[in-house]
């Protein structure tokens, strides 16, 4: 039993670091990350991408005038475009690299992980998408603060949003620097500056319009690149799944066990906590939630999820094939191993399977293309994060809390641009400082806070009449603090970063424990709140409920 638990914890850690990182963010930091020779096709193709997106940013900057343009592209993105952009947010460079590497190493387990990522989307559609669109305007705090105390609730939501954004951004930056060093042969610092500065340019000049289009272009590149590699690889096996599996089992160290669930999800507590964290963490990430406000109405919001989940589902199956064919094509080719030893380590580390596969089936040109896609992907994700962080500062803290709704649009946009510059510089400086640090816990922390601080208050404010300001504050801060402490006391920080001997909290996934704390506190303190203000807040739910259901009032809100 003790052994099982230990395995569970180790795997949980692995799961936390890999999965969460894979889902949206910077690449997991497996293997050595030595600098590679300068990759010319990759740099040329990436420069083309930058030129194209700069052109779009210029075009977008001329159309970005109001706060609504800046935060939500004026609400004028179509369902299809937004679907691609959401898929772009969700399928990062690390999804492509990390998940294909997981299938390469663990076989079927990688496929199970991908289903766990995907399963949250239908739930978001059924229970959240239309109410988000009907109630929200620029940030998700618009919804939580709808009938509660604007100042206090928005401050709370902005703090937890910024916590999520900062940790996530930092994890992205460090991952990006290392990946770019590896793929392009650029210096780590150069890579960090390039990512940070391009991100600032996109967001400051182009706002949500540019950010969305960067995301769309990158999603298309990723879909095309991945599909192309998969087709070329499958053509070597006569497009027969049976051939691929038969040969993969013959050469893989797991043998026939390759297609069995392995040990990754052996501990039920970790498995369920991870599932909860991914599902509801996704539903609490500020940059994902913000995407729902960019479409015209609930109809388009629903369509966005349909398209997004279609692309994600398709792409995960492509990645599964990349991993399986990689076992044979990459795993048996000494060219891709350090010192030519196929029992040893892959050149560039374990996550390079998809890149090596691209080189094996399509030469340097395809490798260059895929590397450019990876860089583009990182840029798109950090831009989305920076915009979400900037809007929490300018829209929630500045315009609503400090100026109490009396700020002019021009100054609000100015504040968000200054906020973007600050976030960009913080990201660059911390990215350089943290180059050699173990940052794996940061993505876990971001997800934990999203699932435990943002999600419970958001869903309660939409569904539960009885939520009051006091309950929301206790739930939100309680979730934030408990998620933070659970991660701090878990092995990934307490032992791996601070170097204590044993972890105080046995699991690495906070969601299963921190979410009930947040819900419980929100419930108890709402029930105990007998103030006059609480009575008015409960009464105000009726109107909010009708608006959430019908969307009446939402369209006028997005125009003004």
């Amino acid at each position: 039993m003790g052994r099982l638990k230990r395995i569970g914890t180790t795997l949980g850690l692995f799961a936390l670091t890999t999965m969460a990182t894979l889902a949206h963010a910077g690449p997991p930091l497996g293997g050595t990350m030595e600098k590679q020779p300068i990759n010319v096709p990759a740099i040329v193709m990436f420069c083309l991408f930058v030129c194209l997106t700069m052109g779009i940013t210029y075009w977008a900057s001329r159309r970005t005038k109001s706060t609504s343009d800046f935060y939500t592209a004026g609400g004028g993105i179509t369902g299809f475009q937004n679907g691609l952009a959401i898929a772009g947010d969700y399928m990062s460079a690390a999804t492509l690299l990390g998940l294909s590497a997981m299938v390469y190493g663990q076989g079927y387990d990688g496929y199970i992980y991908m289903l766990a990522f995907f399963a949250g989307w239908p739930i978001i559609l059924f229970l959240m998408a239309e109410r988000l669109r009907n109630l929200g305007r620029f940030t998700f705090s618009d919804i939580t603060a709808y009938r509660l105390d604007q100042g206090k609730v928005r401050t709370m939501a902005a703090i937890s949003s910024l916590t999520v954004v900062c940790f996530y951004l930092l994890a992205q930056m460090v991952g990006a620097g290392q990946l770019i060093k590896l793929l392009f042969g650029l210096e780590y610092k150069v890579a960090i500056f390039a990512v940070g500065i391009l991100m600032m340019v996109y967001v400051i000049f182009g706002g949500m319009v540019a950010t969305t289009w960067v995301q769309i272009i990158k999603a298309c590149m990723l879909l095309v690149g991945g599909t192309l590699v998969a087709i070329l690889a499958m053509s070597r096996f006569g497009f027969s799944y049976t051939n691929v599996v038969a040969q993969a089992q013959a050469v893989h160290k797991l043998g026939p066990k390759l297609m069995y669930p392995g040990s990754l999800l052996a501990d039920p507590v970790t498995a369920i906590s991870l599932g909860l964290g991914l599902m509801f963490g996704t539903a609490g990430l500020p940059h994902i939630l913000m995407r729902f406000f960019t479409v015209t109405n609930a109809k388009e919001a629903r369509k966005s999820v349909l398209y997004a989940s279609g692309f994600v589902s398709y792409f995960f199956n492509v990645i599964f094939l990349l991993g399986l064919t990689g076992i044979i094509i990459v795993g048996q080719n000494s060219e891709f191993f350090v010192g030519g030893n196929i029992k040893g380590a892959l050149i560039g580390g374990g996550n390079m399977v998809a890149m090596h596969l691209a080189k094996a089936v399509g030469g340097n040109l395809l490798l260059g293309f895929l590397a450019a896609v990876a860089f583009a992907t990182i840029l798109a994700v950090v831009s989305g994060l920076a915009l979400a962080g900037a809007s929490a500062i300018s829209h929630d803290l500045y315009a609503r809390v400090i100026m109490k709704g009396k700020a002019s649009e021009t100054t609000e946009i100015k504040v968000s641009k200054v906020a973007t510059i600050c976030l960009g510089f913080i990201a660059i400086v911390l990215g350089i400082l943290f180059e050699k640090q173990n940052i794996a816990f940061m993505v876990g922390l971001a997800f934990g806070v999203a699932a435990a601080a943002n999600f419970p208050v958001l869903i309660l404010s939409m569904y539960w009449k009885g939520l009051t300001t006091r309950g929301a504050l206790w739930g939100g801060y309680g979730g934030l603090v408990s998620a933070f402490l659970f991660v701090l006391f878990s092995k990934s920080v307490w032992v791996d970063v601070i170097h204590f001997k044993a972890a105080l909290f046995p699991y690495t996934q906070p969601a299963l424990f921190a979410m009930p704390i947040a819900f419980g506190l929100a419930f108890i303190f709402s029930k105990l709140d007998g103030s006059e203000r609480a009575k008015l807040e409960i009464e105000a739910f009726e109107d909010q409920y009708v608006r959430g259901q019908t969307g009446f009032g939402a369209e006028t809100a997005s125009k003004h």
Partner: protein
């Protein structure tokens, strides 16, 4: 003005119809997805060997792969079903509701 409009809508029987139909539909679909997904997670945790079995003797295709591929497709089809009904039936009901409320408001 808004508050009166909301009052009109709330008292319209169509509102109750919309809310109860849509909630039932959404929660049923969510229940199907959650049951299948967490059921699958429990099989992975407690009966992993089952998923590694071939679908028939000598096949390279295992039960686990088939079940998962099915879920990938089925969950997506469910989102399609929801979007179809919500963007059609539920949205026209919502439009009627808003129109009725405007009439009453005059």
């Amino acid at each position: 003005m808004s508050s009166e409009m909301y009052e009109h809508m709330r008292s319209n029987p169509k509102f109750q119809e919309l809310v109860s139909k849509r909630s039932r539909f959404a929660w049923t679909l969510a229940f199907i997805v959650l049951t299948m997904f967490y059921g699958f997670v429990l099989v992975v945790a407690f009966k992993p060997a089952l998923l590694g079995q071939p679908i028939h003797q000598g096949s390279m295709v295992t039960i686990g792969v088939v079940v998962e591929l099915f879920m990938f497709i089925f969950f997506w089809v469910l989102t399609g079903v929801y979007v179809y009904r919500a963007n059609g039936e539920f949205d026209s009901l919502t439009q009627e509701l808003i129109k009725d409320a405007w009439k009453e408001n005059k």
